[in-house]
């Protein structure tokens, strides 16, 4: 447990808490980007360079911006004085606390956690590309199909439906 781990840990958790508790939705989206950036730093610390940079590209670059666009497109939907939490928020908080208690107790009680190799694993991007093109080529193709279908579906769902012509039966 090094100092950088605690620093990145604090950054990630502060961003996550702010994303879940701020009132202004744009601030929530920006806090989410901070949390994703902290997670990318943790991936880099864990010697997973490709996953870290993919996290920056996809989450900080794309998903956070997508959420900001959605916030701006649905702007003005709520009056400012409405409470941001649902009426029975304490039930949800209790469920989340219970889930955390179960996972944390399981982690702390486990005696079989591997200590890991002391030296960092030497994984280069070339090996990753080789694996993706040989062993994991079928999942990769399926993933490409899934992404294409999902993005076409998203465009079709969000398309403006034409207003019904006057005289048409509704």
């Amino acid at each position: 447990m090094t100092f950088t781990f605690y620093l990145l840990c604090g950054l990630t958790l502060a961003g996550a808490v702010a994303a879940m508790s701020l009132r202004n939705l744009v601030h929530c989206a920006l806090s989410l980007a901070v949390a994703f950036g902290g997670l990318a730093g943790i991936y880099l610390q864990l010697d997973a360079q490709f996953a870290g940079f993919a996290q920056v590209l996809v989450y900080v670059g794309a998903v956070a911006i997508l959420i900001v666009f959605a916030v701006l497109l649905t702007r003005g939907s709520e009056p400012a004085n409405e409470p941001i939490y649902s009426t029975r928020w304490f039930v949800g908080l209790g469920v989340a606390t219970g889930v955390f208690a179960v996972i944390a107790s399981a982690v702390m009680a486990s005696k079989a956690l591997p200590l890991g190799p002391l030296s960092a694993p030497t994984v280069v991007i070339r090996d990753l590309g080789d694996q993706l093109m040989t062993r994991y080529v079928l999942p990769l193709e399926v993933l490409g199909l899934l992404l294409t279908a999902a993005l076409i579906g998203a465009v079709i769902i969000a398309l403006h439906d034409n207003p019904p012509k006057t005289g048409d039966a509704k």
Partner: protein, 103 residues
Amino acid sequence: MNPLAGYLLLSAVLFAIGLAGAVTRRNAIIVLIGIELMLNAANLNFIAFWRFGKNPEAMTGIVFVIFSIAVAAAEAAVGLALIIAIYRHQKTTNVDRLDSMKG
């Protein structure tokens, strides 16, 4: 403390924060943000177990995380499109008021 346990606890806290936000907030976009946080907590677990596991040269953890990131991006795109479509019809993104299918 075992270094792996620190990462697993961070992941558990992140998951709990995302779950708490997803079930308590009223805005559908924030609910989606909470789900994204939970997915990221799962990704952190994959990376941590890969790094401290027996055979890191196999790269299973990283490959799984790459696939998971791509699927999460597709999920975010479809989810936000659904929220925008619902907003266009109902003029609200408050999940408490979207109860027209309630019996």
